[in-house]
C-alpha cells in the first residue's frame, strides 16, 4: 500500500512541490494578516510572518525525504548528467554503444536460434514428458547391418535404427510409459483434386494423437480397430489440407479423398498449426495421417526395424528410470529371441533433445563463440570507459577537492555506464532481430524450428542480463579508478587526460585479453574452415553436373510388383531418350545421396560369413548417367533381363573388403541360402554414395530388369543433359503423364543442388564462425590501436626529446612496436592456451581434422599478429613524425 503510494507520489512530485509551496505561501499571508489585525504595519507584519515561518526550502527537502524521493532524485540527476555527458562526446558514445550492440546483437541472434531449436517447449501439452525411442545395434561395426533409411532425429550414434513394430508391442508393456506410438513417413499420391500430386503424410498407430496430447479439432482420433490390415480406410487430415485442398468445406468430415488410388474417409481434421514430431525435424508439413495397420508378418518379425517411436512418460517418472525399465525389457527380449534381438537394445531421450539432435552441437558451439564476442565487446567498452575516465580525471579531482564523496563520484560514473549499457542493449536487440532474420534466410534446411525463432522473454532477459552485468562489471573498474584519484596530485599535474601508470596497466591487461579471445575464435574458425575445405575437396567419385534426379513413386495398387514397375520405367526411358538434349538416363531404387538400401550377402556359397554391402537396383544407363567409370569387365546391358543369368556389377571397395583384392569377375554371391546366385560381371569406380562426409562402402549394382533379385522399389529417375538439366523437367513430366496421367513427379533436384545442400549446414557453421572471428579481430584491433595511440600521446614529449636528440624515425617506430609486440605476444600466448582448452568442444563438428591441427593454430597466430602489427604501425608512425618543438611545448 505504502510503496505504490510513494511511487505514485514520485511521478507527481513536481505538482506536489508546487502545492506545498502554495500552501506555505498561504500560511505566511494569513499569519501576516493576523499580525496586521493585531496592530503591526503591513510591511512589518509580512517580514515577521516570513521570519517566523523559517526556511521553506529546508521544509521541502524534509518533505522530499519523507516521501523517499531523495535517492531517486539523485539517480535521475546522475542519469541526466550521464546522458548530457554522452551527448557532449558523441564519438565516444557512438563507438561504445555500437560495440556493445554488435556483441549483444550477435549473441541475441544466436541465442534466439538456440532458444527456438533447443530450449522452447515443443508444441504439445506437457511436452517435457514426451520421449523419443529408438533401437541401437551393438554389434561390432564391421559386420553391422546398416539401414540407409532416414529416421527422425539425426543426432543418434552410429548404429541407431528405427524400431521394429514387433518389439514395440513389448516396449509398450513397460510400466514407465503412459503409452508409446509409432509413426513413419507415408506420403501418398493424391488424385481427384486438381493435378495428381504427391503429398507428405504419415502412417501412425491409432494412439499417436493421444500420446502427443493433441485431439483433432473436428471429428475424432483413430479407433483401435481402424489400425488393422483390412480395416476401413480412414484418414485424418491437417487443417491446411482441409483449407487449401478442400476450400474449408463444411461437410469435409465423412467425405472421401483418393490416396494412392484408394478412397479414404476423412474422420478428423487436426487443429491449426499442428506439427507432428517428424515435421518439427523435417519442415515438410504432413497433410494426411493414415493408420499404420501393421501386417501380422511385420508384428512377428523382430528383425524389421522400420518405425519411429514417440512416447509419453507417466507423471513423475524420469527418463533415467524409464531407460532402466526399458533396458530390462530389451535384455530379456535378447535372451528370448537371440537371432533377431541379441545385438539390439532400446534407448530413449527427451523428444526435444532428440529432435534438436546434431544441430544442437553446432548451435552450442556458435553460442559459445558469440559469448566470446560479447566478452571482447565488453572488454573494448571497458577500455573506452577507462580512456574516458582518464580524460575526466581533472573534473573528478576538482569535484573531490570541492568536497564530493568517493561514493557519489563512483555512482555517477556507474550511472553513465548504465546509460551506455541500456542504449547498447536496445540497439543490440534491434540488431539481433535483423541478424536473426538474416540467419533464418541463410540457415540450411534441416534445422528444426529455426524459422520460428524470434524474440521472447528468454531472449530479452538474456540480452538485458548481459548488458547490465557489462555495465556493472566493466563500469566498475574505471569508476573505481576515478574514485582513487588523489586530488592534490592530479591537480598538480596540469596536463589533462593522463591516466597514470595503473591506468596503463589496466588497459594493457584488457587489450591482452582481447587479443587472446579473438585468437581463440580465429583458431576455431580456422579449424572449421579446414574441415570445410577438406569436405569440399573430397571426390564423390561421380559427375554431378548436368544431372537431374526425380522421384516417381509408383503406387502399389496400379503397380503391384517389380515387373510392373520395371515396365513403367522401361517405357518412360524409351520416351525420354527420344527427347532433344538428353545424353543419358537411368532408373534406380535410389540415386546417390537420396537414401538407399543395404542387406546381408554371402559370397561364393560361403554361408558362414555374412557381409552387409549397399545394394542398388539400376538400369543399364546408370553408370553413364552418373559418370562412374567402368574399371574391369562389362557393364549391365539391356540383354540382362529376367530370362537371362543373374548378374551384378560391384565397386572396388567390394573387391577390397569382401574379396581381399581378388579379381571379382566370375565370383558369385547370394542374398540367402535359397536365393539365386548372382555372377559379378564388372567392377566400377568407388563412389561416396551417401555424400562427401560418408565412408566409401562396398556396393552391389543389381540389374533393374532382374526384378526377382531385389525387394526394394524402383523409384528414382535421373537424366544427364547436354545443357541445363532443369530445362528438361517439364518435358520429362509430360512423358511421365503420357504413360500414367495420375502419376506425380516429386523431389526434383539437380545432383549439384543435392550435393550443395548436403554441405550447406557445414558451410553455414563455417561462415558464421568466420564472421564471428572477423568481428572479434576487428574489435581487438580497435583495442590495440586505441591503447597504443593513447600511450603514444602520453609519451609525446618523451618522443619529442628523443627526436630532438637525433633519434631516427625508425628507432621511434621500433620503440612503439616493441611495446605493441609485447602486448600482442602476451595475448597470443594466452589465446593459444585458451584455444587448446576450448576447441576440443568443436571436435564433433570437424571432418578429418583434429582440434589440435597445427595449420589452424599457425594460420590464426600469423593472421592476428600481422593485422595487429599493422594496427600498431599507425600510432607508431605518428610518434615518429612528431615535431619536437610542438611536443615539448605541450609540456
Amino acid at each position: 500500500m505504502k510503496l505504490p503510494r510513494r511511487i505514485a507520489a514520485f511521478f507527481h512530485r513536481e505538482a506536489e512541490t508546487r502545492a506545498l509551496r502554495e500552501e506555505m505561501q498561504l500560511h505566511v499571508e494569513l499569519r501576516a494578516r493576523k499580525l496586521h489585525h493585531a496592530g503591526l504595519a503591513p510591511v512589518d507584519a509580512g517580514f515577521a510572518a516570513r521570519r517566523q515561518f523559517g526556511n521553506a526550502a529546508v521544509y521541502q527537502d524534509q518533505i522530499s525525504a519523507i516521501w523517499g524521493w531523495t535517492m531517486w532524485e539523485r539517480f535521475l540527476q546522475d542519469l541526466r548528467h550521464g546522458i548530457r555527458m554522452l551527448f557532449k562526446a558523441p564519438g565516444f558514445a557512438a563507438i561504445t554503444v555500437l560495440t556493445l550492440a554488435l556483441g549483444l546483437g550477435i549473441n541475441t541472434a544466436i541465442f534466439s536460434a538456440v532458444n527456438a531449436v533447443m530450449l522452447r517447449p515443443l508444441p504439445y501439452p506437457q511436452s517435457d514428458r514426451l520421449i523419443s525411442l529408438w533401437e541401437e545395434n551393438t554389434q561390432p561395426r564391421d559386420q553391422r547391418f546398416s539401414s540407409s533409411g532416414t529416421s527422425v532425429g539425426s543426432g543418434g550414434p552410429v548404429g541407431r535404427t528405427t524400431v521394429s513394430p514387433a518389439n514395440l508391442a513389448d516396449y509398450r508393456a513397460c510400466a514407465a510409459f503412459e503409452d508409446l506410438a509409432a509413426f513413419d513417413s507415408y506420403p501418398g499420391n493424391l488424385t481427384g483434386i486438381g493435378t495428381p500430386e504427391r503429398i507428405s503424410g504419415e502412417a501412425v498407430t491409432w494412439n499417436f494423437f493421444s500420446v502427443l496430447g493433441v485431439l483433432p479439432a473436428e471429428g475424432r482420433p483413430f479407433l483401435a480397430e481402424e489400425d488393422r490390415p483390412g480395416a476401413n480406410l480412414v484418414v485424418i487430415v491437417s487443417h491446411e489440407f482441409w483449407q487449401r485442398r478442400m476450400g474449408g468445406a463444411a461437410d469435409a468430415l465423412g467425405r472421401s479423398v483418393m490416396l494412392d488410388g484408394n478412397p479414404y474417409r476423412i474422420v478428423g481434421i487436426l487443429p491449426v498449426g499442428f506439427q507432428s514430431p517428424q515435421e518439427v525435424a523435417l519442415k515438410t508439413p504432413s497433410e494426411v495421417f493414415r493408420t499404420a495397420s501393421y501386417s501380422s508378418d511385420l508384428l512377428t518379425s523382430r528383425g524389421d526395424h522400420e518405425v519411429n517411436v514417440v512416447g509419453r512418460l507417466k507423471p513423475g517418472v524420469s527418463v533415467t528410470a524409464a531407460q532402466a525399465a526399458l533396458s530390462a525389457i530389451s535384455a530379456s527380449l535378447g535372451k528370448q529371441f537371440p537371432d533377431s534381438n541379441r545385438y539390439f537394445r532400446a534407448a530413449i531421450a527427451p523428444l526435444r533433445d532428440d529432435l534438436a539432435g546434431k544441430v544442437s552441437q553446432s548451435l552450442w558451439a556458435l553460442l559459445g563463440a558469440s559469448g566470446l564476442i560479447v566478452l571482447i565487446a565488453c572488454v573494448n567498452v571497458a577500455n573506452l570507459l577507462m580512456v574516458r575516465a582518464a580524460g575526466r580525471r581533472h573534473e573528478s579531482s576538482v569535484r573531490m577537492a570541492l568536497g564530493a564523496g568517493r561514493l557519489p563520484l563512483m555512482r555517477q560514473l556507474l550511472t553513465e555506464s548504465l546509460v551506455i549499457a541500456v542504449a547498447g542493449c536496445l540497439a543490440g536487440i534491434v540488431l539481433g532481430r535483423l541478424l536473426m532474420l538474416g540467419l533464418t534466410v541463410i540457415a540450411p534446411p534441416g534445422i528444426p524450428r529455426i524459422e520460428s525463432a524470434g524474440m521472447d522473454w528468454r531472449v530479452f532477459s538474456v540480452a538485458a542480463v548481459i548488458a547490465l552485468s557489462t555495465a556493472v562489471i566493466f563500469g566498475m573498474a574505471p569508476a573505481w579508478q576515478a574514485s582513487q584519484v588523489k586530488p592534490v596530485e592530479a591537480l598538480k599535474t596540469a596536463a589533462r587526460g593522463t591516466g597514470g601508470a595503473s591506468q596503463v596497466r589496466w588497459r594493457t591487461a584488457l587489450t591482452v585479453a582481447e587479443v587472446a579471445l579473438s585468437l581463440v575464435l580465429l583458431v576455431g574458425a580456422g579449424l572449421l574452415l579446414r574441415s570445410f575445405s577438406t569436405v569440399m575437396g573430397v571426390k564423390l567419385g561421380f559427375q554431378t553436373d548436368h544431372v537431374i534426379a526425380m522421384n516417381i513413386n509408383l503406387p502399389q495398387l496400379r503397380y503391384p510388383d517389380g515387373d510392373a514397375r520395371w515396365r513403367f520405367f522401361q517405357n518412360l526411358e524409351d520416351r525420354v531418350r527420344a527427347l532433344p538434349g538428353v545424353v543419358a538416363l537411368a532408373t534406380a531404387n535410389r540415386m546417390p545421396m537420396r537414401g538407399g538400401w543395404s542387406s546381408g550377402l554371402f559370397v561364393d556359397g560361403d554361408m558362414e560369413n555374412e557381409y552387409v554391402p549397399d545394394f542398388q537396383a539400376v538400369s543399364p544407363g546408370y553408370f553413364e548417367t552418373l559418370g562412374i567409370p567402368l574399371l574391369r569387365g562389362r557393364s549391365l546391358t539391356l540383354q540382362d533381363d529376367g530370362k537371362s543369368l543373374p548378374v551384378a556389377v560391384v565397386n572396388q571397395a567390394f573387391a577390397h573388403q569382401l574379396l581381399h583384392d581378388r579379381d571379382p569377375i566370375g565370383h558369385t554371391m547370394q542374398r540367402g541360402a535359397d536365393a539365386p546366385r548372382i555372377s559379378v560381371v564388372g567392377v566400377v569406380n568407388d563412389i561416396r554414395r551417401a555424400g562427401k562426409e560418408a565412408r566409401i562402402k562396398p556396393e552391389v549394382y543389381l540389374c533393374a530388369a532382374q526384378t526377382d533379385l531385389y525387394p526394394t522399389h524402383l523409384a528414382d529417375f535421373a537424366v544427364r543433359s547436354a545443357g541445363d538439366p532443369r530445362a528438361l523437367v517439364n518435358a520429362i513430366s509430360h512423358e511421365v503423364w503420357a504413360v500414367d496421367k495420375d502419376q506425380p513427379v516429386t523431389n526434383v533436384h539437380t545432383m549439384d543442388e543435392i550435393v550443395d545442400e548436403a554441405v550447406s549446414e557445414r558451410r553455414f557453421q563455417t561462415l558464421l564462425l568466420l564472421i564471428f572471428a572477423g568481428v572479434a579481430v576487428a574489435l581487438a584491433i580497435v583495442g590495440i590501436y586505441g591503447v597504443l595511440t593513447y600511450s603514444v600521446n602520453q609519451r609525446l614529449s618523451e618522443l619529442g626529446i628523443r627526436v630532438a636528440l637525433g633519434a631516427p624515425p625508425r628507432a621511434i617506430v621500433g620503440l612503439v612496436l616493441r611495446q605493441a609486440g609485447a602486448l600482442i605476444a602476451a595475448g597470443i600466448a594466452l589465446g593459444l592456451a585458451g584455444a587448446y582448452g576450448l576447441t576440443r568442444f568443436l571436435q564433433d563438428l570437424l571432418f578429418e581434422v583434429k582440434s589440435t591441427d597445427w595449420h589452424a593454430y599457425a594460420g590464426a597466430v600469423v593472421l592476428l599478429a600481422v593485422v595487429a602489427v599493422i594496427a600498431a604501425l599507425i600510432p607508431a608512425r605518428r610518434g615518429a613524425r612528431v615535431d619536437p618543438a610542438i611536443a615539448l611545448r605541450q609540456e
Binding site: 506545498l20 498561504l26 500560511h27 521544509y59 524534509q62 518533505i63
Partner: protein, 112 residues
C-alpha cells in the same frame, strides 16, 4: 492584551493534536489547524510551520488524513485536511497511549 507564555509542543504529540483537531472540526487548512491548536490551548501551544507541514505530509503518506483542494473565504486556493477512517483509529490508539503515559507520569509526580 496579555500574551500567555508559549510552549513547545511535547515531542510525539503533534500528530495526535492534529488528528484530534480534525476530528473536532470540519476540514481545515494548515494555518487554521495551527490557529485552532493555539486558540484551544489558550495560546500556550504554538505549532511551528517547520513541523506542521512535514507532519501533514507524513500523515498523508500513512493515509491517516486526506487533503482536498478548496477555496478559503477570500477565495484563495487551499488544501483542506480531513480525517480518514484509518486516522480515526490512529487517534483512538494515540489517545489511549497518551492517557496511559500521563497517568503513569502523574503517579510518579504525586506527593507520597
Amino acid at each position: 492584551m496579555s500574551v500567555p507564555k508559549r510552549e513547545e509542543i511535547p515531542p510525539g504529540t503533534l500528530e495526535m493534536l492534529i488528528l484530534k483537531t480534525l476530528a473536532r472540526n470540519k476540514p481545515l487548512h494548515g494555518f487554521a489547524i495551527a490557529e485552532f491548536i493555539l486558540e484551544t490551548s489558550s495560546g500556550v501551544l504554538q505549532v511551528e510551520e517547520g513541523s506542521l507541514y512535514p507532519a501533514l505530509q507524513r500523515m498523508l503518506l500513512k493515509d491517516w488524513i486526506a487533503g482536498d483542494w478548496g477555496k478559503t473565504e477570500e477565495n484563495r486556493r487551499a488544501r483542506y485536511y480531513s480525517l480518514t477512517a484509518e486516522g480515526r483509529k490512529q487517534l483512538a490508539r494515540e489517545l489511549d497511549r497518551y492517557a496511559r503515559v500521563s497517568q503513569a507520569i502523574a503517579a510518579i509526580l504525586q506527593p507520597a
